[in-house]
């Protein structure tokens, strides 16, 4: 083989190795972060961590019970508002979205999807916190819902569009009215994908902090009142991580681990949802 050919072969091998190494680096970053979370946070996870509220600054101990409940409430409320609107918008885009309004809605969804969440946060502050005169978990939920809706709308539309046209025609030829075709046949077929999109969306907003800084604000006490400031895991991690006490730093790792666990659980559930429905494919 000529020297030139040898060199090209070598380069090819080297570059293959390089891209493999780069991929390894990327995976390594993930492993390091998750590993550190577990290493530094797991030891603090005891029963009292999950059931107690934060103790006054400077003292040791305490937990994140208020943050866990707060996350559940704020995220749950955001989902209750955001999922129906998002799915409905997605169905609209898939069923009737080929006209001008459909184009506008799709464009707006893409713009909002790319908007920094802090901007959504100050938007929610102006429209909800300022008129109400105080911070509230409810305002936080609405900010998160605004983040969620365009995301869910696009994934829903995508999943519904994947349903073959022939299925829709078969239903229509049977005498199904359009609304029933859209819901009972098309959306039902796309259901697994829609659910996946919803779970991914919820996982995304569960980790959000920026939009909550000026809406839910955070609360060191236990509160389930949505019209009062509310604590979430993400806010808790932020306060503890940037605080001056070592004790707080220790708790920050633990809270971050819990938050990451929640996000991971939702992401895995999303993947599982797709796998469940793909059995029994047509031959």
């Amino acid at each position: 083989m000529s020297a030139r050919r040898w060199r090209r072969r070598l380069t090819s091998g080297a570059m293959t190795g390089l891209v493999g190494a780069l991929s390894f680096l990327a995976v390594l970053a993930l492993v390091l972060i998750l590993g550190d979370l577990i290493a530094k946070g797991a030891s603090s996870l005891d029963w009292s961590f999950f059931t107690h509220n934060p103790v006054p600054a400077g003292e040791t101990g305490g937990g994140v019970a208020n943050a866990i409940v707060g996350t559940a409430i704020v995220v749950g409320l955001a989902a209750v508002i955001g999922l129906p609107v998002g799915i409905g918008t997605g169905l609209y885009l898939a069923e009737y979205g080929s006209g001008r309004l459909g184009w506008v809605v799709r464009f707006v969804a893409d713009v909002l999807n790319g908007t920094p969440s802090i901007v959504i946060g100050i938007f929610a502050w102006t429209w909800l916190v300022k008129p109400m005169g105080h911070f509230s978990g409810f305002a936080g939920s609405l900010a998160l819902a605004v983040l969620m809706i365009p995301m869910i709308a696009r994934t829903t539309e995508e999943m519904v569009r994947l349903v073959p046209h022939s299925l829709r025609e078969a239903a229509l030829a049977l005498g199904y009215p359009r609304w029933r075709t859209s819901l009972r046949v098309v959306a039902r077929t796309a259901l697994a994908g829609i659910v996946t999109g919803c779970l991914v969306g919820v996982a995304r907003i569960a980790g959000e902090t920026a939009p909550l800084l000026f809406t839910a604000l955070g609360n060191l006490n236990f509160s389930t009142h949505v019209l009062e400031p509310m604590q979430t895991l993400s806010l808790q991690v932020f306060v503890y991580a940037t605080g001056p006490f070592d004790e707080w730093h220790r708790l920050a790792w633990a809270a971050a681990l819990v938050l990451m666990g929640l996000v991971l659980l939702l992401s895995l559930a999303a993947r599982w949802a797709v796998r469940q429905r793909s059995h029994g494919s047509a031959r």
Partner: protein
Amino acid sequence: MAAPADARLRLETVRLTALYGRRTAVKDVSILFPAHTVTALIGPSGCGKTTFLRCLNRMHELSEGGWVTGRVLLDGQDIYEAGVDAVRLRRRIGMVFQRPTPFPTMSIYDNVAAGLRVNGGRSRGELDAAVERALTQAALWDEAKDRLRASALDLSGGQQQRLCIARALAPEPEVLLLDEPTASLDPAGTQRIEELCHELKTRYTIVIVTHNLQQAARVSDYTAFFYLGELIEVGRTEALFTTPAREQTEAYITGRFG
């Protein structure tokens, strides 16, 4: 042909023209489909026979830019008249497509019952009876009766197509439109469905689009030859195949083009 006891119906088109936007796909076709007969629509690809078929149950207008002029009379009434609900019409005219399209999230039973449920108001017992009747008519009952709750996707291609036929038959339409129903099936499946056409015509009026001239000859009482959107010739099948009146018909049948 034996005349059943109930009143006889017929389908008729009067100067039917079907367009996509400004492009004409079917030109000025007037044809009668007598009750309890099988009429085959033949012609080369793109001659408009499928478009024409889809006009008969108002599926054509669901295509991008699809519209028609002319009339289609079901039992004397123009289905394109203002005020006619296309959804209700399609419950009286059933359609089976080229590729089997069972509803993937439904069981065999639910697939067949789908057209009945949309009409509402039937008890469990009535549904059971209707599903059995439809599956029997589609020659699928024996193979399916023990696994009605199984997913429709567990069936083979030929079985799925018969399932789609059963699904179309369950609401007891008056007319059955078949768009190349055996195109994606193997010879055994094809034969089964051709036999079905013979059995079904005692109850229904059937219009079948087919690419396969032998199939048209085997299955139909009347044959209509389409070319470039126009109806060239129509007549009793044996007559059309042995002594076609038009030159184009003869050229197509003898395989000189198409």
